[in-house]
Symmetry: C2
Subunit: 371 residues, 2 copies
């Protein structure tokens, strides 16, 4: 029985996740125009921020001519390698004893970020592969510090195919760190890697202007619909829709408590709906007593507040003023009007964490829209 042959008396139990690859491809193409003439590349690490790296990589390869991909771990590269046969797959966390065999087999390109990793690479070199060197410019995360670059031999410096760094505050247009890191990157590049292609920016950096794009931009969050330039309205399309069925509707008597630890108490008589989605489905538990859920009933969008603590499998919301709601209807958890950015803000975190948790979660009835 399919969820798409619905009878009036049907009830449902499983939440659904829909990924709109058409919109994702549109976002990617729009970003390509913004960064031109710099070369685009797609960040599909963490299973494409949870949305399915095999689906996303193949869609971009076949429909948007993407030939450069970034993953975090070698095994993530392994999963997409056969789907993007003529592409370069670069591995941001680099190479180690737990991944060197995968690099060799799938011809992945490691990003080398420390002298120790370079030493490991030199001891386990793979024919035909020239790694990327990651240099540190102000994030104080991964990357060679300048005193470490100075100690590299000429042969070492010539052994790389690309130089990269990463911005820390590119989602704040006027943050002083942007110019600071740009200056550092230019200086390091001109001193040590003048002949190499360079990449500094991810999709937030793409909006900072032409100075920041260099030879390649690593397009990720914006492609997935996240607003990486939150100082202005989102120019990207939403890609993610999450829905969950209403399992039960009940009266909540005045004075009654709701949920674990009885953190909500009804000051007046209310009507509640129990919706079949919880933190086990990746929804942030921090939405307890604060998040919002939407019900589209005959074209009218109704907002309901989450009340009480979110459970592993269920969330309870106040539907007192919502007319026409019935068991078996689906609630909108994330969609075009209440986006990843909105739910992340209400949960006190960032969209990246929300989509990474929800997308990779195996509990959804999943659907991809393409073509």
């Amino acid at each position: 029985m399919s969820i798409f042959k619905k009878n009036a008396a049907d009830v449902f139990t499983q939440p659904t996740l829909e990924v709109n690859l058409n919109r994702l491809i549109d976002n990617y193409k729009q970003l390509c125009e913004i960064i031109a003439p710099a070369k685009p590349s797609a960040v599909v690490k963490d299973d494409s921020y949870g949305l399915g790296a095999t689906m996303v990589a193949q869609a971009l390869y076949e429909n948007a001519n993407c030939r450069d991909f970034w993953v975090a771990h070698a095994w993530e590269g392994q999963r997409i390698a056969a789907l993007v046969p003529e592409a370069n797959i670069r591995v941001l966390q680099g190479i180690g004893a737990d991944s060197v065999d995968i690099f060799a087999k799938y011809k992945l390109i490691p990003v080398i970020s420390s002298p120790e990793m370079l030493a490991f690479w030199k001891a386990h070199k793979i024919d035909g592969i020239k790694p990327v060197i990651h240099v540190e410019t102000g994030l104080n995360r991964l990357g060679f510090r300048e005193h470490e670059i100075k100690e590299l031999s000429k042969a070492d410096l010539k052994s790389f195919s690309m130089v990269m760094s990463h911005l820390s505050c590119a989602d704040e247009k006027d943050h002083f760190m942007n110019q600071h890191q740009l200056d550092n990157f230019k200086q390091i590049r001109s001193r040590y890697f003048a002949d190499l292609p360079a990449t500094l920016s991810a999709s937030d950096g793409a909006f900072l202007g032409q100075e920041y794009v260099f030879d390649m931009v690593r397009l990720g969050a914006a492609m997935y619909g996240i607003n990486t330039a939150p100082y202005r309205p989102n120019q990207m399309q939403n890609v993610v829709t999450v829905r969950a069925p209403v399992l039960q509707i009940a009266d909540l008597p005045k004075g009654d408590f709701v949920g674990y630890s009885a953190t909500y108490r009804a000051a007046t008589k209310r009507k509640i709906a129990i919706v079949s989605i919880g933190y086990g489905d990746g929804l942030p538990r921090s939405l307890s007593n604060t998040g919002r859920i939407y019900f589209n009933i005959q074209g009218k969008v109704n907002e309901a507040r989450i009340i009480g603590r979110m459970s592993m499998d269920n969330v309870i919301c106040d539907v007192t003023d919502i007319e026409g709601l019935k068991v078996g209807m689906f609630a909108d958890i994330i969609n075009d009007i209440y986006t990843l950015d909105d739910i992340a803000r209400d949960a006190g975190t960032i969209s990246y964490e929300v989509v990474s948790r929800i997308g990779k979660n195996p509990r959804y009835n999943k659907k991809y829209i393409l073509g």
Copy 2:
């Protein structure tokens, strides 16, 4: 190349997750003694709180004679059905149009929690299956309210195999809701389901005393090592160990910033370590600038503070005072001394959410200990 044939110069990139099934079985057996003569059952919903339902269910079936399992969704039951052939698998979220075929094929037992779901069940009954009825006693989540039970026919009342409810505050021994829900459950049972086996408590209820165990207890969180009686020290053994490799160690100059949005600034010169695990691996991003990481170096346990914002793939910590730390060593993220309960408290959430996120995450090099 295995992570277990480590050379001095090796570096590593992938975090590891170890699930100790021996300890999980021990926890289960200890709980069985506490609840005797009530029958035990194992809650393996949400992929065994993320730890792997196929591994956990099979281990309990074969090593602890467990014959009763609870899942949230039918497809979760489907995954374990062949591994526990003579067991009853009950499905807490119940049955719907999106799962009825799975119930029929794998002989799963639905938990019916509303009149609408009962109507659906009666229209799609499966031969040989008698469902569980879920009654509401104070949590105000799923379950028949008493006025709905009153409207059931005698035949309806006789059609169930078990009556269940769920406690809201069982982790607080003296919370007034415990006695309130106990009284409600006893009353509803004696009025409508006097002949049926009954289950009220999950593992937190198991510690409230013999009155709360009825015929069956649904053992979950405590079995997974979570302290469900936090008013006293944990009597369960830790089951989860998470480790992640140090990718880089660097000096942090006085005045420098760390991580996205530059939320940490070094007031004095520090030494930092970049560890290859982040919120993409399910680690709560709310540990940013507050969480702790441990390094066991030659038998000495060293504590390091997380500084700056956690990234998707990396976390940065202050290792200024830690001697002997080297790239390639593994940090302890969760273990016997810094448990799920500890990291959840530091992250501002509950252990259940942390283990559900980390356990189901596909990015770990996973290992099960059994036998």
